[in-house]
Structures are given as C-alpha cells and as structure tokens.
C-alpha cells in the first residue's frame, strides 16, 4: 500500500511538472470521481455488513465449498455469469470473502465469469453482433472463466 500511494503521489507531481494544467485536471477528475463514488461504496459496505451478519462464515464456506472445490467453483461461475457488478465492488467483496476462507479458485471463477460473461448485457451484444455470435462469445466466456479458475487453483496450490 505504501508503494501504491508513493507511486500515485510521484505520478501526480511528474504530471504537474510536465503540464501544470493537465496535472491539476488529473487531480480534480480523480477527486471528483472519488467523492461521487463514496456513497456507493458506503452503501455497499452497509449491505455487505448486514448480509454477512446473517450469512455466517460456515454458511459461505458450505456454499462456496471448502470441502468440494469443484462444486464451489460451479456455484461461483453461475453467480458471476448471472450478476452484473462493477469491478470496484466485486474485488473488495472478493477480498472480504478471501479473508473468510473462500478459496482463490472459487473467487477466480466468480470474478472471471463476472467480467467475461454478460447475461445482463446480452441484449445489447445481440443487437451489435447478432444472436449467434453473442451466444458463441458468452459460451467461450464461461469456458475461459473455468480454465482460468482451474489454473489459478493449481498455481495457488489449492487443487493439486
């Protein structure tokens, strides 16, 4: 985290030195976006803290399968394919689930299908590419999400 903030501050200073106006504008846009999105973050945190009070650790681990990783993975991929969730919400949430003991494999299945498969955006996709191509691309997304999750599981030593 120290490096991240160091990098950001350095980048802002360099940006300001190269072009005063652009440097200032970068800072302004960044802060504006931050302020605009803060209520969304807080509402999500409220929702998550209430939900996770009722859904106990045991229940999450049971559903996302501590015992059976493949079952958990399939559940994660289905959840990711159906829901539409921006990354800035999905990853903090995954971070919390990771601390709760959910495996990297299952979370990879969830986040990757979230990005690759869009059941909610399917109508728009169909309009541009036609039904057939849209289906092909989404099926490919599901397969790719599974492959990435399996490789993640192997790399993190959860599968083998």
């Amino acid at each position: 985290m120290f490096y991240l903030y160091g990098f950001v501050i350095l980048a802002l200073i360099v940006s300001y030195l190269i072009n005063n106006q652009k440097g200032k504008k970068s800072f302004k846009i960044g802060s504006k976006k931050l302020i605009k999105n803060l209520p969304i973050f807080f509402n999500m945190i409220i929702l998550v803290s209430i939900t996770l009070y009722f859904i106990t650790d045991d229940l999450i681990i049971k559903f996302l399968g501590e015992g059976n990783i493949i079952e958990g993975l399939l559940f994660g991929v289905s959840a990711g394919s159906i829901t539409l969730m921006p990354g800035f919400i999905a990853f903090p949430l995954s971070g919390v689930l990771l601390e709760k003991g959910v495996t990297y494999t299952v979370l990879a299945g969830f986040t990757n299908s979230l990005m690759l498969v869009g059941i909610m955006t399917f109508p728009i996709e169909r309009k541009y590419f036609g039904t057939k191509v849209a289906i092909i691309r989404n099926v490919f997304g599901v397969i790719l999400a599974l492959i990435v999750a399996l490789v993640t599981g192997i790399v993190f030593g959860e599968l083998i």
Partner: protein
C-alpha cells in the same frame, strides 16, 4: 433535491439503526456495526489512490489517436492496438460495443474487433488495479497470462469461421 439525497438514504437509516442499537444494547445491531467498521477499513484504504490514477489516466490518454491506428492496421499490429485500446478503456462492455461498431465501419477487421471486445473484459486498467489491491498481483497475472492467448486464438478462429459464412455486423443499429 430528492435525487441528490437518495444515495445517502441507506447511510442515514443505517446510522439511526446503529445509534438506537447502541442505546438499547441491541446485540445484532452492535455486531453489524463492528462488521461495518472492519469492512470499511479494508475496502477504503486503497480507493483514494485508485481514483487518483483514474484521473491521471483520463487526462493523459487520447482515445482518438488510438482508434485511428486500430482502424488502419491489421495482423499482429492490429492485435497490439486492440490491446492498447482495451487497456485504456473506461466503462464496461456497453461502451465497448459501440466503439467496436464504429471501428468496424471504419474498416477494422473482424478478428481485431473480436480481440478488442474480449480484451476489454479483462484488461481495463481500473479493474486490474482493484483486483491487484484486493487479491494480489499473482492472481491477476495468472488471469492475464491464461486468458490473453486463448482470446487471441478465439478471435482468430471465430473471425475465420464467420468469414466463410459471409458474416456482417448489423448495420442498422439504433444509436443510443
């Protein structure tokens, strides 16, 4: 006025709930508040930095130039530019589709279009920053290293298959 307050309503209600819970010693309310504090701490520590990077990004990248290169080139260079364009994308698939369509109209090849669409889902800088912050860089690297090659193969195969079918992107898309 109502629209401006709307995002804050859950926070206000939550605040009242927590206050009452604390006054009446309502244990579930107190536990939920503990959850809230814990999650806020872990979720919010990276967020200011990420938004600053987004600000820098928006100011210093010029989408028009990138688009021009993508339209002219094909082959490996086309893929390269598809990657660059998708990395610099802000917004989700719903933004990528119209961009892909305008590239297609300008004469970009189908394989570049498909590469661009699939890259967009995994390469966007803001999203990767969130991922690295919360899941670690190893998690992100595995994902990118596995998906990008497969996506290249996919775009190649799909565009080849479609060219034998005389496929065309729909022309009469209503602008939104």
């Amino acid at each position: 006025m109502i629209k401006k307050i709307k995002p804050f309503i859950p926070m206000i209600l939550f605040g009242i709930f927590i206050l009452i819970s604390n006054l009446t010693n309502f244990q579930p309310g107190i536990d939920i508040f503990q959850n809230f504090l814990k999650f806020s701490k872990s979720m919010l520590k990276f967020i200011p930095a990420i938004f600053m990077i987004l600000g820098l990004f928006e100011v210093w990248t010029n989408r028009a130039i990138i688009e021009k290169h993508l339209g002219e080139e094909s082959g490996i260079k086309g893929y390269f530019w598809a990657l660059v364009l998708s990395v610099s994308m802000i917004g989700g698939l719903h933004v990528a589709f119209p961009i892909a369509y305008s590239l297609y109209k300008k004469g970009a090849s189908l394989k570049v279009i498909f590469a661009y669409i699939t890259f967009t889902t995994v390469c966007r800088v803001p999203m990767n920053l969130f991922e690295i912050s919360f899941m670690g860089i190893k998690f992100t690297l595995v994902r990118l290293l596995v998906s990008i090659p497969l996506m290249l193969i996919f775009s190649q195969v799909l565009s080849k298959y479609l060219s034998t079918k005389n496929y065309k992107m729909k022309i009469n898309v209503t602008e939104e």
